[in-house]
């Protein structure tokens, strides 16, 4: 008996990192889960590793592309008959640079991957959640959705925007049994962090290790967070007990954010 028995979840970017940890937590709690990712081979490998039989399914797709977002929701409903929980987890940035040197393409990419993807998937999912009067939308934002750091303005801007969208959506559907929340994790050493963090650090003229140390030093726990920290809170928000929590920007950052 799990707290998500009978629930169906879709998670963008769920083959590794935070999304993967949330997928595994939801499966442990009894849900059926669809994960998406850009790379079909990586997706198949993730499904094999997760080893949850027909309760887990992979849909190839790029969260920065509208048709792929729509198809993720449509395939989720086609396969499992409904969608109860949407985790807008795919995100990130590339070609980070100080604003004075920032390209239009870097800003556009970050907005597509973090903000447009959240909008597209949420709009499509709400069309199912509103008639059934039950739903959970969980947006994986960031500490950088609340505070700024130099050199990663595209990421900071996009995550702040996601938090604004979260608050508005929460008020739109607040009386319909649907909650919408942002989770704001501190730095976690995921594969993506290793890849993009190294480049972002370079753009700020520092070593990757120094970037991580900088994040840690700003926290109370003086260490990085872990993907399981985020999955823990996601499970609570997705459950029936999460019904009273909406429009919230929940810090999972070891005491870093000032609010």
């Amino acid at each position: 008996m799990g707290e998500l028995d009978g629930r169906v979840a879709a998670i963008t970017g769920g083959t590794r990192g935070i999304g993967r940890a949330i997928a595994e937590a939801f499966l442990r709690d009894g849900a059926q889960v669809v994960v998406s990712g850009r790379d079909a081979a990586k997706g198949q490998r993730a499904i094999d590793e997760i080893d949850a039989g027909d309760r887990v399914h992979f849909v190839q797709g790029d969260a920065a592309v509208r048709a792929d977002c729509d198809r993720l929701i449509d395939e989720t409903v086609a396969r499992y008959g409904r969608i109860d929980i949407l985790v807008n987890n795919a995100g990130g940035s590339a070609n980070n640079a100080p604003v004075v040197d920032l390209t239009d393409e870097a800003m556009d990419y970050a907005l597509h991957l973090n903000l447009w993807s959240t909008f597209w998937c949420s709009r499509r999912a709400l069309a199912h959640m509103i008639p059934q009067q039950w739903g959970r939308i969980i947006n994986i934002s960031s500490l950088e959705g609340k505070v700024g750091k130099p050199g990663i303005a595209v990421y900071v801007t996009a995550k702040h925007a996601v938090n604004g969208l979260t608050k508005s959506m929460a008020h739109e559907v607040g009386t319909l049994g649907i909650t919408v929340n942002s989770l704001c994790p501190g730095a976690i050493e995921t594969d993506m962090m290793k890849e993009e963090g190294t480049k972002a650090a370079a753009s700020m003229g520092m070593a990757y290790e120094d970037l991580l140390a900088w994040f840690s030093s700003e926290s109370a726990i003086k260490r990085l967070n872990e993907v399981e920290d985020v999955a823990l809170v996601a499970s609570l928000l997705a459950s029936d007990a999460g019904a009273g929590i909406t429009g919230s920007l929940i810090s999972i950052d070891g005491g870093t954010s000032p609010y």
């Binding site: 608050k167 929460a170 008020h171 559907v173 607040g174 009386t175 926290s219 109370a220 726990i221 003086k222 260490r223 967070n225 872990e226 399981e228 920290d229 823990l232 809170v233 609570l236 459950s239 007990a241 999460g242 019904a243 009273g244 929590i245 909406t246 429009g247 919230s248 920007l249 929940i250 810090s251 999972i252 950052d253 070891g254 005491g255 870093t256 000032p258 609010y259």
Partner: protein
């Protein structure tokens, strides 16, 4: 297997409402729990109703008194050998009034009940937890810890203050195995809100208790009150071992009321 097997918790104001729901949730997850309240008879009745005699105790006393809060920590350690989770939950509003009409006595009561009680309990619990390098301190704060309403200045000020205390203490012990968090519920129709609500409504310049409920729920996204069970679910999560990396957090359970 519970999420809190073998843990020992103490809860100020645990005989009813939010504290009671947290106590029952902790018990379901395998913890032993000492609850506190002013009235011995009500406390014993609560223990009887809960019906888990081997894992529950009652410690009588007013949470606005230092001896009570510190005694509760000792009582938990005496009864169950240790203290893993301190829930500083008691608090409220009595005889509230706008600032211009607030008496020193009422102001002092709010400070002792809502703020000093949290400080006393946190300090005493930390003295026990720090040598063990493990612990969870949860403070039942409120949306009034971030936003303010007219007519309840003492409540607003003290709930803001406990949030400051939580953030500071969380940073002090951040590298130990201890986390310190606030939970910020929106309005819940607890016994205490029902009994003091009409008076509070008057202090806020509203015509009725129902009007006050409306003022609170109207600001939320869900347009209704929160429930004690929703708060208890968050408390269980934050108290669990899995939440070791969540600290200094103002955890909202407010149906979308607070703007930040």
């Amino acid at each position: 297997m519970g999420k809190l097997n073998g843990k020992v918790a103490a809860i100020t104001g645990g005989t009813r409402s939010i504290g009671r729901a947290i106590a029952e949730a902790f018990l379901r997850e395998g913890a032993s729990v000492v609850i506190n309240g002013r009235d011995e008879a009500k406390g014993q009745q609560a223990l009887a109703d809960i019906g888990v005699p081997d894992r529950t105790r009652f410690f009588a006393g007013d949470a606005a008194k230092q001896a009570t809060v510190e005694g509760l920590v000792d009582a938990a350690i005496d009864a169950f050998g240790q203290l893993d989770i301190m829930v500083l939950n008691s608090g409220g509003v009595v005889n509230s009034a706008p600032v211009s009409m607030m008496t020193d006595e009422e102001w002092q009561l709010e400070i002792d009940w809502n703020l000093n009680h949290v400080f006393w309990g946190m300090r005493k619990a930390l003295q026990h937890m720090l040598p063990r390098d493990t612990g969870r301190i949860l403070v039942t704060s409120s949306v009034e810890g971030k936003i303010a309403k007219p007519g309840i200045p003492g409540y607003n000020a003290t709930k803001h203050a406990v949030n400051g205390l939580v953030k500071s203490a969380a940073k002090e012990v951040g590298t130990t195995g201890i986390t310190i968090n606030s939970i910020l519920p929106g309005l819940i129709e607890t016994d205490i809100v029902r009994s003091t609500g009409p008076e509070t409504a008057q202090a806020m310049g509203l015509e009725s208790y129902e009007a006050m409920l409306g003022v609170f729920t109207q600001e939320s996204a869900i347009k209704k009150c929160n429930t004690v069970e929703q708060v208890a679910a968050v408390a269980v999560m934050l108290a669990s071992d899995a939440a070791r990396n969540i600290t200094g957090c103002m955890f909202p359970v407010d149906g979308g009321t607070m703007p930040y």
